[in-house]
Each structure stands twice: as C-alpha cells, then as structure tokens.
C-alpha cells in the first residue's frame, strides 16, 4: 500500500492531508526557510501517533513533529519529503492537581490557555514565550522555550516533570515522574529542547507556579542602549534576580508605539524590569533596580501604580513582534546569548554590523539572561536582500560566540543554525551529541538534518570505538 493509504487505514479522512495545496501550508514554520512535506496527520491519541510513526518508519519517511508552527529556526520544517505529525488535536488539560501544583496536559495545549485555566487556583505555568497566545506546550518542550519571566523561574525544562514519548520505533514510553528525582538517567532533560529529534511528546506533566502575592513593574528610560545594558549588568551584580528584565531600543519602541500606543517614552532605550514576591520585599528590590538605573544614567523611571499601568507596559513588550509584522513584510529574528557582563560591548558590535550591511534592525530582548534578539525587518522580494540579512546574521552570531556566548538561547538550532554548530563545538563534541541522538533514533528518521551538521557522526573517534569486540581479549 502507498504511504497515504497506509495512514488512512489507521486514521480518519479528516486526519490525513496529502493534497499539494494543503501540504504547502505546512511547508514552513515562522522562520524563513520552506521545506518539503509528503503528508500531514492530525492524531487524536497517543496510540494514533504511535501508529503513524510506525507507518512512516516502515516507509522510511522522515517524521517531523509540529505544534503551532511558531518556531523560528525551521525545527518543524521537513528537509526531505516528510510526514508532519501535527499534535494540535492533543489539546486536553487532563488533570490539574492543586495540592501537587502539577497538571497533565496534551502537547497541543496552547501555552496561555493553561495559565488561564489554572488562574482560579492562584497558579500559573511559568514559561511565557512572547508567542504564548499561539504556541503549544509540546512545541515549548520541543524547543525548551523561554520567555520574559524565565529569568528567575527558569526555562521550560525547569517546569517539566514527566513526558510520554513516542519513540522512533513507535513505542510509547514514560520518562520522568511525579516524584522529585525519578530513578535513572534524566531523559526528560534530554528530550526537552531536542526539537523532535528524540521522539514525539504526547503527554506532559508540568509544574505550576504560585502566583506572586505582589509585583512591581518598572519602566526605565535611557539615552543609549549601552547605558540600559549597563543597568542590567548592575542589577545582577547587586545580588537581585528580578522576575524579568527586558530591553527595547528606539526603533522597536517607535514600532510598538505606532502599533499599540502604550505610552512608552520615545528614547534610545527602555528597560522593563519586574520584581515579584512577598509584599515586604518587592519595594526594596524595586529600589535596587531603580538605583542601578539611576547610576547608569536613567533619564526617567516609572513604577506602575495600578494593574492597568502594569498591563500596558507588558502589552508594549509583548506586541513587539506584531508591531514589526505590521511595519515590514518579512523579518528575521536572531537569538544568541552572551554573558551578562558582555552585554554592552556586544550590543555596540551588533549595531555596527547592522549599520555596515545597511539593514533595518530593531531590538527587543531578554536582557536579564543575556539573551539577544536583534530583529531585522526587510522585504524578501527586494533582490539580494535575504542574502544580506543572512550575512549580517552570521556576523552577529560570531560576535556573540566571540565573547563566550551561545548560538541559541531559546529558539533552537533547528535548520537555521545547524551549520554554525561547528563554531562552538569540536568534531568530538558533535560526535558525542550525535551518538546520544542515535541512542533514541538509530535509523535517523526523527526530524533528520536538524540541530547537528551533516557528518557529525561520520566516523568513530578513539582507538576503542574502531575495534571490534572480538579483537579484545
């Protein structure tokens, strides 16, 4: 039987797409590179996911998990004719355990829906990517997503206790558990952030976080981005880890103001900082942030006095990408991380690169953990433009690596940064990663061509690996 016919034998008609027009819709995520899709399936149970995986394995068709497709690194884009397993219909919030502060959810649950669901209990799901009204928890697990409030709370991996995984062989296996230190190796930690290369996640036990009793949200204005970055470094150095510290530069502030008018001052840089916690602590922590701001030359410091003012500040921050989409047909969003002490010099270098390539750049980023997001707005129809944008991107990545940083802080390596992996890791390091992947996916069918450059596992290092067991005594 053909591949599609095999799929239709186990799934209903409305669960399988293979018409070219339909496939086209699934050929891209929110990144810039399209792929090739053989079929898309919409399973409604773990067993159906397992069945689809087994069929794809039988036909040797690559398998690509997909959540909402908001990923920015091409993680959900098949590079060869592949089966997209869309997990959006596994969207049940199955069980919220108030006493344990946990919930079992399907991977298709939208991030923000979970927090809305648990709000009456005074609990929320802490990782809050800016895309949280669209992206899925399964996708967040796939990329180990972060967000403004991950500075103090940690990224997705810190909030996942257990996963049900469909393996490359189509087996259903549970990893982790509700107890604090599940027995054996921490495979949950390996699967989170593995971008669908180690299995498909079909159920997730997440940790829920107590809503803070009190919050102070500050907006600090600066007349240079370097001054704002210096304030961020100073806050960390002062021994305060705020709930969030986000930075926006003037082009971004202007774009946001044009789009939503949140009352942001039009100035070189705005730092949004939030401290959350006990009522007796937030004011003194807010004072530390304000003092660091003043010392770095803040021209204005606002502390939101009401919930409405606080929401307006966050609306400004969270509309940033929408504002850019409104202003330019295409955008390319970077995601590197640098040590927080190197923020100032890195930002200067990034502006210099942007200026030299003559590209329009806007910045909004998770400054508190050194996670940069230079965003280039452009029109891909302009000849040579995409090449220029990508050349600048490469340079920015190299600058970040040069100061001891990382390729990606939260969007993932995917396809986009795969070929830069050799800039941060030795062939031996990449080989080790490839071996780990092989342990989960010996036939290389799970999201091939992602994360690791071609040839990462092309030969065995060391004397031992090259010896057959028989040659050992």
């Amino acid at each position: 039987m053909s591949f599609a016919a095999d799929l239709r034998a186990v799934l209903a008609d409305d669960q399988v797409l293979d018409h070219p027009l339909d496939l086209h819709v699934y050929a891209k995520d929110a990144g810039v590179t399209p792929g090739i899709v053989a079929a898309v399936v919409f399973p409604e149970s773990s067993e159906q996911v397992a069945a689809a995986v087994k069929i794809a394995a039988k036909h040797e068709v690559p398998i690509v998990a997909r959540g909402a497709g908001t990923g920015l690194s091409g993680g959900a884009v098949p590079t060869r004719p592949g089966l997209i397993v869309a997990l959006t219909r596994l969207n049940q919030i199955e069980e919220v355990d108030e006493a344990a502060r946990t919930a079992w959810v399907g991977p298709g649950v939208i991030n923000l829906d979970l927090s809305a669901h648990t709000m009456p209990l005074g609990l929320h799901y802490a990782p809050d990517p800016s895309s949280q009204s669209a992206c899925t928890i399964g996708g967040n697990v796939g990329t180990n997503a972060g967000g403004p409030h991950c500075l103090a709370e940690g990224t997705t991996v810190s909030h996942i206790l257990a996963l049900e995984l469909i393996t490359a062989e189509g087996e259903i296996v549970m990893l982790g558990g509700a107890e604090p230190d599940p027995l054996g190796l921490d495979l949950v930690g390996v699967v989170v952030g593995s971008e669908g290369t180690m299995g498909l996640v079909t159920r997730i036990l997440v940790k829920l976080t107590e809503n803070p009793p009190e919050v102070r949200t500050l907006l600090l204005a600066f007349d240079s981005i370097e001054a704002a970055a210096a304030a961020v470094s100073a806050v960390i150095a002062a021994g305060v880890v705020p709930a969030a510290m986000e930075l926006m530069d003037q082009p971004m502030i202007e774009a946001v103001e044009n789009f939503k008018s949140c009352g942001f001052p039009i100035t070189a840089a705005v730092l949004i900082a939030e401290v959350a916690g006990h009522p007796a602590a937030v004011d003194s922590e807010a004072a530390v942030v304000a003092q660091a701001g003043r010392d770095a030359g803040a021209t204005e410091i606002r502390i939101a006095a009401t919930e409405i003012e606080r929401d307006l500040i966050w609306l400004g921050r969270k509309s940033a990408f929408g504002a850019v989409a409104y202003a330019a047909p295409d955008y390319y969003l970077h995601d590197t991380v640098v040590p927080r002490t190197r923020l100032v010099e890195t930002m200067s270098a990034i502006y210099e690169i942007g200026a030299r390539h003559g590209i329009q750049m806007l910045n909004v980023f998770h400054a508190g953990d050194g996670n940069l997001h230079p965003l280039v707005a452009f029109d891909a129809k302009e000849p040579g433009m995409l090449e220029r944008v990508k050349a600048a991107a490469d340079e920015m990545v190299r600058v970040s690596i040069g100061v001891g940083g990382a390729l990606s802080g939260e969007h993932g390596v995917g396809l986009e940064k795969r070929d830069l992996m050799g800039e941060v890791f030795s062939p031996m390091d990449l080989d080790a990663q490839a071996r780990l992947r092989e342990a989960f996916d010996p036939k290389g069918l799970l999201n091939p061509d992602k994360i690791l450059p071609e040839g990462s596992r092309c030969y065995d290092f060391g004397l031992v690996a090259n010896l057959e067991p028989d040659s050992l005594k």
């Binding site: 344990a100 990329t143 180990n144 990224t155 991996v157 296996v173 549970m174 990893l175 558990g177 509700a178 107890e179 604090p180 230190d181 599940p182 027995l183 054996g184 190796l185 921490d186 495979l187 930690g189 390996v190 107590e210 009793p213 470094s233 960390i236 150095a237 021994g239 305060v240 880890v241 006990h278 009522p279 007796a280 602590a281 991380v337 640098v338 040590p339 927080r340 002490t341 953990d369 050194g370 990382a406 390729l407 802080g409 992996m421 890791f425 031996m428 390091d429 990449l430 080989d431 080790a432 990663q433 780990l436 342990a439 690791l452 060391g462 004397l463 031992v464 690996a465 050992l472 005594k473």
Partner: protein, 365 residues
C-alpha cells in the same frame, strides 16, 4: 597507557573502597581519558571517585580500577557579576562555597557536603534542602567537560545562563552515577545569597501559609521552616505565622545510621511517607515537605522493612532508594524505570564497552 603512567598516578585506595582495587589519581582530564580508553580496551570495570561520600551500597560489577578526581581541583573562572563559576570536578564543595560566600553567592548544593566534591555531588544527583526555592542541583549545570567511557574528552552546554545549543548533556550528567563518564569540569549557575535568613519552629500544618520558603523540613524532633529574603520579608513572614524566628539557617545534622532509606514520592504524599517511616521504626528522618523526599535512618537492616517501604512508595508512583546499608548485596533502586531500554542505549552512547560502573544504574544498566 604505559606502566610508568600507572605507577606515577597510583595512590592508596581511599577509605570505603575495596583495597585490591587499582586506585589512580591522574593529573588532568586527558590523563583520565587515557585510563578510560585503556580500561575499555582491557574490559576492566572502573569506578569514578570524588570524595566517596555518596557512593551508596555497592551495586553492579565490582570495580578493578578506581579513578580519583582529586588532582582536578582548580577554580578555572569565577564571574561574580555573571553569577557563573567554572570549576574542576574534584574541587571540594565546601571550598567552593567558601569562595562564593565572600561575594555573598552560592551554587546552592547540598548543605552538608564535608568531603564531597563538585563532580561527586553532580554525579550522585544529590540536591540540597534549598531545592524547594532554587530547584535541584541539575538546574545549576550549564556546561560540562567529561571523559567518556571509551576515553573521549567532550564538552557540552555553555557558560551562559540560558542555552539551547545542542542537547542538554550537562543536565544528563546529574544523577548519572559515574556511568556515562568522568566529569572533569563544570560551569555552574550561581545565586545571590539573600540578605536575611531565619529558621522557624512550627507545625507542619502552618507551612501552607508561607510564601516561597527556602525549605520546609520535618524531623523526628519537629518541623522547621527556613526563610530567606530581605530583612523585612523574613521578619514579616515570621510574624504572620506567629513563630519565633532564629536568625540564620540551622539545618538538621545529617543522618548517621548505617541503614538509610530514601523515599521519593509526589510532593503531597510527604506526610504519608513520614507515617510510613515512623511505622517502620526509623530512628531519625529528614522529610522535605513540598519536595517529596523523606530520608530515614534505621538502627539495623531488615529485608522486610525495605520490601514494605518499597512496595508502598512504588505503589504511589515513587521509589524507595537504599542510601546506606549495613548488609552486602542489597537492591539499591527497586523496580527499574519504564525507560530502562532507552537508558541502556544512552549509557552505551557514552560508554560503548560498558566499563563504567556496569550495572550501577537502576535496572542493571
């Protein structure tokens, strides 16, 4: 491996190890890797050895070679303003914490760490009581350099606090029990130490009213909440619950019994786990409320007691782990995890000849 190198690196076997084992303390991680490569070729089981404080009861094949990390003990790079520390695995936790304390920072590892090394703490998967606030030890490992079972030296992760560049091998090293490789160097994420802290004796039932405590502990002598934050916050919380606050953190002393069993259960079941260990005649116990760990010490070994505690804990989706035993040949872990086959494959990705503590991980992995 030359006979000369072996001679140069050989030391007397540390206390707690079998005396016939070949104990080596190589000068650097490359040398460690050479020993591992040689052991892989020869098929000799190896046990990595930090401070020897968290070895647990012997499990799996008896080692022929013992690899000490004692020569790998340098602080490589401390960046206080970045809250990161790069340190070699053989450094003592207490030395590292003393260095960090000068800047009012901490790696938030186990509170009782006399004699323990950084690498040993990570490999044994032990966390401190303060995990309730800061998360377990695995949350702190940003980068690792490891010598694998077949003698490759690999690095993964990075020296930044947020990173998805490649697979999270640093986190995988936590709780790996030495079965994947010898950890040579790590980058740890640090936390600032809050300005004030206090210990409050109180009833377990009142724990509920505290916001973000550092730890909520119960022992055979009563319950204590540990708070940290600004001075006003700590004083305010203590006043609100009407408990007398002792300044500072007076952690309970470690268990000393020759038989120790740790129950790991979903967090809401801690009170029930305490009842279980009390009913099993524990002399002493340390229960971590809202975390789900209850460690108990017993006067003597009893197979029946372990079986009963284990059957209860496993029935709750948890485990009963033997942390110390006065008897040989105990089943340290109990029922293996559902993912045991994947675990075996992951081990072999790092240790293809299975020479590193073979059989030490749950399920004989």
């Amino acid at each position: 491996m030359t006979a000369r190198a072996i001679e140069d690196w050989q030391v007397t076997a540390p206390e707690g190890a079998a005396s016939e084992v070949l104990a080596l303390a190589p000068p650097d991680l490359d040398s460690v890797a050479r020993v591992l490569e040689w052991a892989s070729l020869e098929g000799r089981p190896v046990i990595p050895w930090g401070g020897g404080t968290h070895m647990g009861p012997p499990t799996g094949a008896p080692p022929e070679i013992l690899l000490l990390t004692s020569e790998l003990n340098r602080v490589v790079d401390y960046q206080p303003d970045d809250l990161t520390l790069v340190v070699e695995a053989g450094a003592l936790v207490t030395d590292v914490e003393a260095l960090l304390a000068e800047r009012r920072q901490s790696a938030v590892l186990a509170e009782h760490a006399a004699g323990s090394t950084i690498g040993g703490m990570i490999a044994s998967g032990v966390s401190g009581y303060r995990r309730l606030r800061y998360g377990p030890t695995r949350e702190r490992i940003l980068e690792v350099t490891v010598a694998t079972g077949d003698g490759r030296v690999i690095t993964a992760g990075g020296r930044v606090v947020k990173n998805v560049t490649g697979y999270d091998i640093p986190r995988l090293m936590s709780g790996s029990q030495g079965a994947l490789g010898v950890i040579g160097q790590v980058c740890l994420k640090l936390w600032p130490v809050p300005e004030a802290s206090a210990s409050l004796s109180m009833e377990v039932a009142a724990f509920r009213s505290l916001y973000r405590p550092l730890a909520l502990l119960e022992t055979e002598r009563g319950a204590t909440a540990y708070l940290a934050g600004t001075a006003e916050e700590v004083a305010g919380q203590a006043q609100a619950v009407g408990a007398e606050a002792r300044a500072g953190l007076d952690w309970p002393e470690p268990l000393t019994q020759s038989t120790q069993i740790e129950l790991r259960v979903p967090a809401p079941l801690v009170a029930a786990a305490v009842e279980q260990v009390r009913a099993a005649d524990a002399e002493s116990f340390r229960a971590q409320h809202r975390v789900g760990v209850v460690a108990a010490g017993f006067a003597e070994w009893s197979d029946d007691r372990l079986a009963a505690l284990r059957s209860w804990a496993e029935g709750q989706g948890g485990a009963a782990v033997v942390a110390a035993a006065s008897k040989q040949d105990v089943d340290r872990w109990g029922a293996p995890p559902a993912s045991v086959e994947l675990q075996r494959r992951v081990k072999e990705a790092f240790d293809p000849r299975r020479i590193l503590v073979p059989g030490r991980l749950p399920g004989g992995v």
